[in-house]
Symmetry: C2
Subunit: 259 residues, 2 copies
DNA sequence: GTGTGTGAATGTCTTCACAGCT
DNA sequence: AGCTGTGAAGACATTCACACAC
């Protein structure tokens, strides 16, 4: 959701819906787990449960990739892992730089699920001269003066911004000027980027606020089941599945699952 | 988005669309910045630009809250800040616990944007006895043996899980059993929760994979503008705004913060 | 004149339900 | 018989465009 949207305003042909793309990593994770347990095939029903979505959605999602299943049987786990990995571009190596090595930047640098999926932390960059040379997660921090050179030398196209809000836009501008075309932004700011550059943002405080909104409703309902309370709701809890969560914004990334 | 959905299956009356709720924090942030600069009023056009959305969407979003603007003039900044805060439930205090004080947990504990919005870190919990008593961000870490007591003593209803994947579900179960009804999950796992409990997830690796997907397409197009390449695309990049990113997810989903 | 508020139109995502392949 | 793949229906979200209030 962040700002508008740059990628295909409505692509057809090999156009995989954005909502589907956002779920592919989820399926991939579930499939990887099955693969490690040497499970050979899986049905849409089983895989959907593992990924926390419903089976119709999963089948529809896979249908955009092609017909990789076998009717009456299910999906071949290894084959699907490969197809989804390829579709997501994970069969290649993605050098990534992290800018802003504070608490969060360090946490990201140490994050394991990083390397496990084709992403390689090529460099850590920080504006504090005192940090320069210090190793974090085994990688020496470099000073931001060299940002452009680092990007270019490593052929980096994906940048992660974990700086304070005020530094985010300038850093973003430099990253883009140096050739970065995809940015994952952890700073609580809206970034302006030229067309063709993708930005995804992750904002803790926003997630908490969304939770608070729903939490408030729950409290209001309890206290006033008649729908009169503070945040009078009047829902109808219509008969419905028994799922849970969701995940927000636009692409609305999915988020959880039922018991 | 995620799985089904627990909150109003399609509530009307005071039913604010989920997509709108997800944007309210964005508007609030932009408004807070204006407020600090003592700007008295703002038009939908200006505010939309600051929040990174288009003005029609913003007006539609606000229309779900009520008619807080003045035709021909715009919106009163202070008044809107108050209304949105109230709608989001930020006028009250939300004690939060963070479970799992590793790199990420520590980063979250240190996050400023936290307290700034009605959220108060009531306790830090970790399973490592060696951590017990150590202060992180000025708050002493407590051992997870006391999790239930901590939740109850502090009246916590929102929990943040920043543990390794394997520990997430057990921790989640204990949190829920102790009374937590909203969970922000940073562990790369699908959590099972009973109906009535909200879960939002933030997964760094998923965000990167989505970026990689788009990045791959860009590369494919450059190399094969005819739409024949590896991941043959054939989009049409139809004329479009000059905004940027999106977030998914589901929407989009999304979540953290800066150093 | 200016900018909000909103019905109507359009577009996207999800769910249903079943035909068709194994 | 079983489970995928998918048209069609429905729900939801965004955008348009303009009447109306200031």
């Amino acid at each position: 959701m962040a700002t508008g949207r740059t990628h295909r305003p409505a692509t057809r042909s090999r156009g995989i819906p954005e909502a589907t793309v956002a779920r592919l990593p989820l399926y991939l994770r579930a499939l990887t787990a099955l693969s490690e347990r040497s499970v050979p095939t899986v049905s849409s029903e089983e895989l959907a449960a593992a990924a926390g979505v419903n089976s119709a959605k999963l089948r529809k999602d896979f249908s955009y990739l092609g017909s990789y299943g076998t009717r009456g049987v299910g999906y071949d786990v290894e084959y699907l892992v490969y197809q989804i990995s390829r579709e997501l571009g994970l069969t290649q190596d993605w050098p990534v730089v992290i800018v802003g090595i504070g608490n969060l930047g360090a946490a990201l640098a140490n994050y394991g699920g990083f390397a496990s999926r084709g992403f390689r932390v090529a460099a850590l960059i920080d504006a504090d001269p005192a940090m320069a040379g210090k190793p974090v997660a085994g990688i020496p921090v470099q000073h931001s003066d060299d940002l452009e050179k680092i990007i270019q030398d490593n052929g980096v196209s994906i940048g992660v911004i974990a700086t304070p809000a005020g530094a985010a836009q300038p850093v973003c501008d430099r990253l883009v000027a140096a050739g970065v075309t995809s940015i994952l932004n952890f700073a609580p700011t809206v970034l302006s980027v030229p067309e063709g550059v993708d930005v995804r943002k992750v904002d803790l405080s926003i997630e908490l606020q969304i939770l608070a909104f729903h939490e408030q409703r729950k409290a209001g309902e309890e206290a006033h089941p008649d729908g009169t309370g503070p945040a009078a709701v009047t829902r109808e809890e219509s008969g419905d599945s028994a799922e849970s969560a969701d995940q927000g914004p636009d692409g609305d990334v999915p988020a959880v699952m039922p018991a």
